[in-house]
Every structure is written in C-alpha cells, then in structure tokens.
C-alpha cells in the first residue's frame, strides 16, 4: 500500500467513526432539562406553593393571625352596630368666635405681685428646698455642691 492510499484509508476511517448507540436519544433527553426547568407549569406550581406556605404561616402564628384578622373583625363588628353620623358644622358660641373666646379677659390690667422668695416654702434660687426654720434642706446623697467653709475667727495678734 503506498503512502497516499494509507493517508486516504486513515482519513476515511477517522471520518466514518460510528457514534455510540443511543446518541440521539441521550441528546434529546438532555435537551428536555432546560425546557422543563423554566416551564410555565412549574412557575405556577411554585407560586401556588409559596402562597399556601404564607397563608399557613399566618394562620398558625397567633401574632400574625391577630394582626391580620383582628382589625378586620373589629371593623366589621363596629360597622354592624353603629352608624356613622354625617359630619356636622358646629354653630359659633354666642359672644365669641370659638373656645378661646371663653377665657375671661379683665377690663383693667392686673398689677404683678412680687413673688415672695424663701418664705419657708417652695424652692430657693439654688434649687434646694427651704425648711420651715429657714435653713436649706440637706443635699441628697451623691450630689456634689460647692461648700464654702465658715469664716475663720479672727486670731489675736500676738505681736501687739
């Protein structure tokens, strides 16, 4: 066999390789997978399942059930027993133009009385209560306040 015939024979055998049996069937089976993955039936089934799970969670959880159903039931019962009155326009009160007009306004200006300070009751300017004997109430525990020591007694001059 010459060289050209050998080459031809090799190429002929290479180019006429038979595929393994069932190739088309395996390819078609594999091609079915992407189609079924996103089919509309599966999408609808997934949505229905998700809705069922959500409703079950709401029905079984007492907190969610109260939130969802209680308000609705309360509104229904209220509507069934009461009728809502139509809005009304209130007439203005005589001698005034509303609630603020009911406040009594004196004719003359009222003189301002000086406020007694440290009369034995109430609080001093320092914010501490004044006891009936005129002294300041002791500070509560844990409150720091500047403490002014009493003036020292005059020391007699020994040099004189």
């Amino acid at each position: 066999m010459n060289i050209q015939s050998e080459i031809d024979e090799t190429l002929r055998r290479l180019g006429s390789a038979e595929p393994p049996s069932g190739l088309e069937r395996r390819i078609n089976r594999r091609l079915q997978i992407p189609r079924s993955r996103f089919s509309s039936t599966r999408i609808w089934a997934a949505c229905a399942l998700a809705a069922c799970l959500a409703l079950s969670a709401i029905a079984l959880n007492p907190v969610w059930r109260g939130l969802v159903f209680h308000t609705h039931a309360h509104l229904q019962s209220t509507q069934s027993t009461r009728t809502i009155d139509p809005p009304r326009v209130a007439a203005p009160a005589p001698g005034g133009f509303g609630a603020a007009s009911a406040v009594h306004v004196p004719d003359q200006p009222v003189p301002v009385q000086p406020t007694p300070v440290n009369q034995g009751r109430g609080r001093s300017r320092s914010g501490r209560a004044v006891l009936p004997n005129g002294t300041l109430a002791p500070l509560p525990r844990g409150v720091a306040a500047p403490h002014t020591p009493p003036p020292a007694a005059p020391v007699p001059d020994s040099t004189q």
Partner: protein, 177 residues
C-alpha cells in the same frame, strides 16, 4: 405563546436526528475520544436550543452546526490538552470501523493509522484543520470553506499542502527504517 416554543423544540429535535452523526464525526476527528466527542455534540445542540430564536435566519443548518461543533471542540482541546484516548492503538482498533481481517492485521493496521494521526497532529494548524474536516465524508470542500470562513480555493490549496507534508513525513520515516 407556547406554540412557537414547541415548534422550536421540534425543530431542534429534528436537527438532532439529522445531523448528530455528522457532528460526532467532526468532533471525533479532533478529540479521537468517543465520550468527549459525544459531549461536544450535546453541547452543540444545547447552544442551538439557547439560540433557537435564530433558527429562522439560518440558511445552511449543516454548515451552521458544524461550525458550532468545530469551535467547541477546538476550544475544548485548547483547554484540556489531554492525550487522545486513541493514542493507544488497541483503542483505535476498537473504535474505528475495520474491514473483515485477522486480529493480528487489525492491530498492525490500527497501529499504522494511529501513527499517521500523530503525524497529522504535527502539521501546521491551518493545514491540519482542513485535513481533519476533509476526512468527514459528509462535508464538501465548499462546506469546509464556509465552516472555516475562507474560500474554496484556499481550502484546496491547504489540503494539497497538508497531504504533501504528511506524505513527506511518512517517506522520511520509511527511508530511515
């Protein structure tokens, strides 16, 4: 909405029936491994399915499919760089169709074919690609030119150079032995 989808699938299924063997041979000429060749064919049709909206624009399905499979198999070989299964000539004798002959002759012939295939792999890329595609009997020179996006005369020229170089390699080995 569902009918065009169904039609596209039916069309792809028809393409599988019609061209899977050709695509298998194209892939096998490069991989020389049955499992890899089948994977390439499956991947080819998966791509077709992915781009099924373009099916109406395709003029020549055979060329279009062979081009997809050819690009896939070259890419696969580039990435894998694996030794073909049929480098072992007993495997080649099992895989390739053989005429009625004795077991001893079959092994010798398979060994010789395996050697020629190894020499083909040493050819320059362009000549090698044309030679391998020309081995697929379903493909004409015009179709090979369309697959490789070149002219028919270029294909003939490359084919001649490939065969000539291969024959020279075999002659050199014969003179050495």
């Amino acid at each position: 909405m569902a009918k065009p989808e169904h039609d596209a699938h039916a069309q792809v299924t028809a393409l599988v029936e019609q061209y899977s063997t050709t695509l298998y041979r194209v892939a096998y000429s490069v991989t020389r491994n049955p499992a890899d060749a089948e994977d390439v064919v499956q991947e080819t049709f998966l791509r077709v399915l992915r781009h099924r909206n373009k099916l109406a624009e395709v003029r020549d399905y055979r060329v279009w499919l062979v081009r997809i499979a050819w690009n896939l198999v070259l890419d696969r070989k580039r990435r894998a760089k694996t030794r073909p299964e049929t480098d072992d000539f007993e495997d080649l004798a099992r895989v390739l169709p053989a005429d009625q002959q004795s077991a001893e002759n079959m092994v010798i012939t398979a060994q010789r074919h395996s050697h020629i295939l190894r020499l083909i792999d040493t050819l320059p890329v362009r000549e090698r690609e044309v030679l391998l595609l020309s081995a697929v009997k379903e493909l004409s020179t015009v179709e090979i030119a369309l697959v490789l996006k070149t002219t028919e005369s270029t294909i003939r020229s490359r084919l001649y150079r490939a065969r000539h170089a291969l024959a020279e390699l075999l002659e050199q080995e014969g003179s050495l032995q």
